[in-house]
């Protein structure tokens, strides 16, 4: 039969009762500066990769926080590790190291 009309929509609601905090906690232990992000977007606006792809370190932080480990790992591949974001971040967050940790997690599955 032809695919017609309706399909079940993905629920947009973020249910905090089912959120998995393990990845966030692991990252926060690897780099204690992680929790200090204030979502100001300076990193994303200066990002070399972000000018050409849909990549934002601010969003990456959010994905980690909200338990979206898989997406974070996939996104982290887009970074060129140029370090501009580290220089710009007003909270002195060790952005490059965090990206490296996400990549490490993708390779070694520490959880």
């Amino acid at each position: 039969m032809k695919d017609f009309g309706f399909s079940p929509m993905k629920n947009k609601v973020l249910n905090f009762d089912e959120l998995n905090h393990d990845f966030h906690q692991w990252i926060a232990i690897q780099d204690s500066s992680f929790n200090l992000c204030i979502a100001c977007g300076t990193c994303a606006s200066t990002c070399s990769a972000g000018s050409y792809t849909h990549f934002s370190f601010r969003e990456l932080c959010k994905d980690i926080r909200w338990g979206n480990a898989e997406k974070a790992m996939k996104e982290s591949e887009k970074c060129m590790l140029c370090g501009k974001c580290s220089i710009a971040c007003p909270r002195n967050i060790n952005t490059r190291n965090i990206i490296k940790m996400v990549r490490k997690a993708a390779k070694t599955s520490p959880l």
């Binding site: 947009k12 609601v13 973020l14 905090f16 009762d17 204690s32 929790n35 959010k62 926080r65 909200w66």
Partner: protein
């Protein structure tokens, strides 16, 4: 000849004004409606920005109140009349003629039950920031109505502030930093607890406030930019809350053991009578109006009437003490003239 100054309200503003004006050589009378001095600060446990005991501040001020200062406790000022350059202050157990007045009558807390959708007074595990201070004083940690220790706690910013629906469009100024302070204290008293702060903007304007915010982040407190739409009760009297994470444009729902409403600073109704007796208009938010936003922050528009502290709008302890000292100097200059 010694002049007489009446101070309406014995909170920290009134106490400081009494100390200063007495030192400047005038006779001082403080009218306080409660049985003790200290006002709201006497109810707090530890205060921002340094988590010092509130008691310490009240005690230090109390030590400086000399015997020369006349304190009238349980003395609610009902009426003030003006006769030429002097004022007659009538309280429920006193009457006094004074040459100048310092209005230091403070604020009222926003009544949380006015925001019905948040369930205060309906659901047992919805409390206010003031209830939480009381819990800290009593037990050193928050607790649920059934006595259990909460494991998930959410702080709701801006309850009764920045809200056209309750006719309070202004920011109450001290509740963001109080929420950060209380979140830290919750985490310190229950380290395994998950703590969330739901905010619209974080207003960390004072010295040391941003540091407290960083400290809260370091302790793992989660800040979510979004305002609570509604709270409902679910099994075991837990609270289901809904907000949006406006940074990722996604609605959020979560169940928590306790929600803490950061209630705002409202103008005191008792003040309205005093203001109208003195032919003073309240400002647009309902507080006592200062004569000039920049240059006369403690003058009212009536000669001989000075205003300081939270009766002029939301303020911290530091603001209140500064205003009080400024008013005292103004009172002194005024009395030397008349």
């Amino acid at each position: 000849m010694r002049k007489t100054v009446a101070i309406i309200g014995g909170g920290i503003t009134g106490m400081e004004a009494a100390i200063q004006i007495n030192k400047l050589g005038h006779t001082v009378h403080v009218f306080e409606k409660d049985e003790k001095l200290g006002g709201h600060v006497a109810q707090w446990d530890h205060v921002f920005p340094n988590q010092r005991k509130a008691r310490e501040i009240i005690n230090e001020l109390t030590c400086q109140i000399s015997e020369e200062i006349n304190i009238h406790l349980s003395s609610f000022v009902e009426k003030i009349s003006q006769i030429d350059d002097s004022f007659v202050i009538k309280s429920d157990n006193n009457e006094l003629k004074a040459d100048a007045i310092v209005l230091a009558s403070g604020f009222e807390l926003f009544s949380a039950s006015k925001k019905e959708e948040y369930g205060y007074g309906i659901f047992e595990n919805v409390i206010t920031s003031v209830d939480l201070e009381r819990m800290f004083v009593e037990k050193g940690h928050p607790f649920m109505r059934n006595g259990e220790i909460p494991q998930r706690i959410a702080f709701i910013h801006c309850v009764g502030s920045r809200d056209e629906k309750v006719k309070r469009t202004y920011c109450s100024k001290v509740c963001c930093i109080t929420a950060v302070k209380q979140a830290i204290e919750v985490k310190e008293s229950i380290p395994e607890a998950s703590v969330y702060n739901l905010y619209m903007d974080l207003r960390m304007f004072g010295p040391g406030y941003e540091d407290m915010y960083q400290k809260a982040q370091q302790k793992g407190i989660t800040f979510i930019r979004g305002r609570l739409s509604e709270a409902s009760e679910v099994e075991n009297n837990r609270i289901l809350i809904k907000t949006e994470d406006t940074l990722s444009s996604r609605p959020i729902k979560m169940t928590v053991d306790l929600i803490v409403l950061m209630i705002g600073i409202s103008p005191s109704l008792a003040n309205n009578q005093i203001l109208s007796d003195l032919k003073l208009e309240p400002n647009k938010d309902g507080f006592a109006e200062i004569a000039d936003d920049h240059l006369s922050p403690t003058h009212s528009k009536v000669k001989g009437v000075f205003i300081a502290g939270a009766c002029t709008g939301p303020c911290s302890i530091t603001d209140a003490i500064n205003a009080s000292r400024s008013a005292s100097v103004e009172v002194h200059h005024y009395l030397n003239q008349v």
